[in-house]
């Protein structure tokens, strides 16, 4: 218990160092990852990290050759990794030039080629007397505990540079990711911007390798941005959320694995990110599945009620000539049920629901009638339906496709003058629809 407390209050110097370093990485990769995601190159990070491996090996061998024992000098290894990651991305770009090799194949080819070379080099290094102790495998599987104070300084500076570049070039990157063609036409150096963005990815990848391992670096670049997209509709906030998400999951991962030492830290960090993703996928305010399902369910119910009320209205419509108060007439439930194909058991549920919402009432004789509210809703539903019908007949070529025509008020989607035109048409055919409904009331009601 005291251990846990000690841990959570960050009294342990080592944990503090590791936590700071990893959280910084999480923040930087969240910001850069967002741009890569929007540029539709989310998996570039995976290629960069795999391609970095031979660079680590070569750097180790070179340093070891010239000064035995110096092979693990961190900045040297990082430099080697960055060089070979860049080389890998260049190779994949060159492969992309071949018309027959598509982008995905070019990426996968580069990845396997460089990774194979890296593994070959690593096995070679293991034969060296110093190689056994070298523990280069932390670059593959990740070991944040290996981070020391000087590394954190390097990380901090690097992350600051990354964030600075992203901040300063925010509008340039936004333009590049949103509309490359427009950026080109406007004279922006798209190639150079792309290069800069790639450099940022390589930087983040290479720095993150030691803590989460090259196999999982791509998770840091992909998970926070995809999670962030569920919470916001704007680029700036999205980067902010992604940064926060990256930082928090990284920190949580480090804390968890410090508390339970036999957990692999890199894996725990990624799984924290996965947890964040699942939560966002379900509950994100912008596109969360739960909200979408709820909306869909409500929509279904409303469509059902509308259908029911419309059915009632159409049944009673002939009576309008005699008496314009529809609430007075009983509804022939059996006839109503025959009007359309209700799915199994839906019809009675809808009736109950309509009564619950005060749209229908049933008396002691089991007779159903519309209430005043029900009458208004029924009128609106019929009106909506017939407006859409007219609209589709007359303007089918420009009808919006993403609309549920049976439920969405047409007023949302049409310009006022077009609507007026349609209403005139409607009233010519169904004059009774206009008599009880005040158009302004209908408009405001339609926007429930």
């Amino acid at each position: 218990m005291t251990d846990l407390l000690r841990l959570l209050t960050l009294q342990d110097y080592n944990t503090r160092i590791v936590l700071t370093g990893t959280a910084l990485l999480g923040i930087a990769s969240g910001v850069v990852g967002t741009l890569m995601l929007l540029r539709r190159r989310a998996l570039i990070g995976d290629v960069a990290s795999h391609a970095a491996l031979p660079g680590v090996g070569v750097a180790y061998l070179v340093m070891e050759r010239f000064q035995p024992g110096s092979g693990k000098w961190y900045p040297g290894l990082i430099l080697g990794a960055a060089c070979s990651a860049v080389a890998g991305l260049v190779v994949s770009q060159m492969l992309r030039r071949i018309r027959r090799i598509k982008e995905d194949a070019a990426l996968a080819l580069t990845l396997s080629l460089f990774f194979g070379l890296g593994v070959a080099l690593f096995t070679m290094i293991q034969g060296l007397p110093s190689g056994q102790a070298a523990g280069l495998s932390e670059f593959v599987f990740g070991k944040p505990a290996a981070i020391v104070a000087s590394d954190v300084q390097l990380l901090a500076v690097a992350c600051f540079v990354v964030l600075l570049i992203c901040g300063v070039c925010h509008k340039e990157f936004a333009l590049l990711c949103f509309d490359q063609e427009y950026a080109l036409a406007g004279g922006w150096p798209v190639g150079a911007l792309d290069l800069l963005l790639t450099a940022l990815v390589v930087g983040v990848t290479v720095l993150a390798m030691q803590s989460v391992g090259l196999l999982l670096v791509v998770a840091l670049l992909v998970l926070p941005p995809t999670s962030a997209r569920f919470w916001t509709d704007r680029l700036g906030p999205m980067q902010f959320v992604a940064a926060a998400c990256g930082g928090v999951t990284a920190a949580l991962g480090v804390l968890l694995s410090a508390a339970f030492p036999h957990l692999a830290t890199g894996a725990v960090i990624v799984l924290m990110g996965t947890l964040g993703f699942v939560v966002s996928l379900l509950f994100g305010t912008r596109r969360g599945v739960v909200w979408r399902l709820r909306d869909q369910w409500r929509l279904q119910r409303r469509i059902g009620l509308d259908d029911l009320l419309r059915g009632i209205y159409e049944l009673l419509e002939s009576n309008l000539v005699v008496n314009d108060d529809l609430t007075a007439w009983p509804v022939d439930v059996a006839a109503l049920e025959r009007t359309r194909h209700w799915s199994q058991g839906r019809f009675p549920k809808l009736l109950q629901r309509a009564r619950y919402e005060g749209l229908l009432r049933s008396d002691a004789h089991g007779q159903w009638r519309l209430t005043a509210a029900g009458r208004r809703e029924a009128l609106l539903a019929v009106r909506r339906h017939r407006l859409w019908e007219l609209y589709l007949i007359h303007f089918a070529d420009i009808a919006p496709t993403s609309v549920d025509r049976s439920a969405d008020a047409i007023e949302h989607w049409l310009q006022p003058d077009l609507l007026e035109q349609l209403e005139t048409l409607l009233l010519e055919r169904h004059p009774q629809l206009a008599v009880p409904v005040n158009p302004h009331e209908a408009l405001s009601e339609g926007v429930r």
Partner: protein
Amino acid sequence: MTAWEALADWGSLDTWIVVTAALAAVACALPGTFLVLRRQSLMGDALSHATLPGIVLAFLAFHALKEQGWIAPAWSGWIQHGLVFVGATLTGLLCGLLTEVVIRAGKVEPSAALGVVFTSLFAFGLLLIRLAADSAHIDPGCVLYGNLETIVTDTVPVFGLLLPRAVLLNGAVLLLNLALLIVFYKELQLTTFDAALATALGIRASWVQVALLACAGMTVVAAFESVGSILVIAMLVAPPATALLLSDRLSGVLGWSCVLGALSAIGGHIAALIGPPLLRSALGWPELGDVSTAGMIAAVSGGLCVVAWIAAPRHGLLRQVWNRAHLRLRIVAEDLLGLLFRIEEPTHPATGLSSVAQLATAIQAPKWQVRWAFSELKKRGAVTMSSDGPTLTDRGRTLAQQLVRSHRLWEAYLATNFQMSNPQMHASAAKIEHYLNPQLREELAAELAQPAVDPHGATIPPEEAARR
């Protein structure tokens, strides 16, 4: 030990290593070809990572069963393999399924969704390995790099022969893949080329996709244990991508990728044998260790792709350069022919064009190209050189006449259909004349109602040469 000694030491162990790797490579190349053609190459990467938790869980289940004493020792090897097989295939399918769910439910871009799913599964697998480290010994490095060098020592007797279990396993998967390929060839072909058409014809493209993924997952797993995940990615993607440069037909691509897979297995092992000794002597660093065969096979398969890119017979870089040079030579030669023909015409203002330098200026080509073209024309018997410069032979005159006919017909065509100044028409014709074949000339002439003169009033010569 020198490189040659290393190679001369080749024993049955080496043969089995190569055979195992080659079988795995060929087995991977078959589903890999379709993944590459469907632009799902990264699925190979994803599958090889995502199957980790399945493998670990299978190991754990195996050990739990063994503890309980439910497994007969004689069968334990096969049961372990079988469990791993099932576990990994299931997680492979799960990876595909989850990716689809994330894409649909979250409207996430496909490659990002893949990234989300496979990294999560892989991380889960790594976590399991650590948690299970006490009960079962699984080395994550082994999963990654493969265990080609030691796996072949695990042998089973078959008809009195001691065969490595990995050979049997990969061989079986290869046969299964082949059988599936033969049975479902036309469905695979059609859904890969045009999924919409396939669906319209009643072939469920999504089922084929699921089956392909399951097949790839299974192949990956079989190969995985013996050769490791890197090699699996390489084998799924590199040979098919290379084969696409070598053949224009699906069956050809499939065949080539099998051949290339086998070649890289052999080449990779040889490179792994002779590479280290060579490096040791070159660097004077005797302590350097041996290299993993799996890594070298991956590198060699990538290397083969580069070779194909440079030297492929139809789509290679060298071929393209050669084609371009050839086209250039043809154009210069034809320009020369055209020029000589025009000089012969009565309307042409007589000018003494005899030296290479003068001709080069006249057709605006470098002198070396003109010399080169001349030797080519002389070889073909189109031009003879005399003291007062080059003259056309009859054969050359026919060729030149067709060329000039092309030029003037095109000018006439432009004058009818375009609004252009004379110099523009001339410039366009000077370009197009090299690409008109007799059939196109005939169509041009027919469309223009067999014109006799071009817009400048020059005679359009007939297709056949007049004898002199």
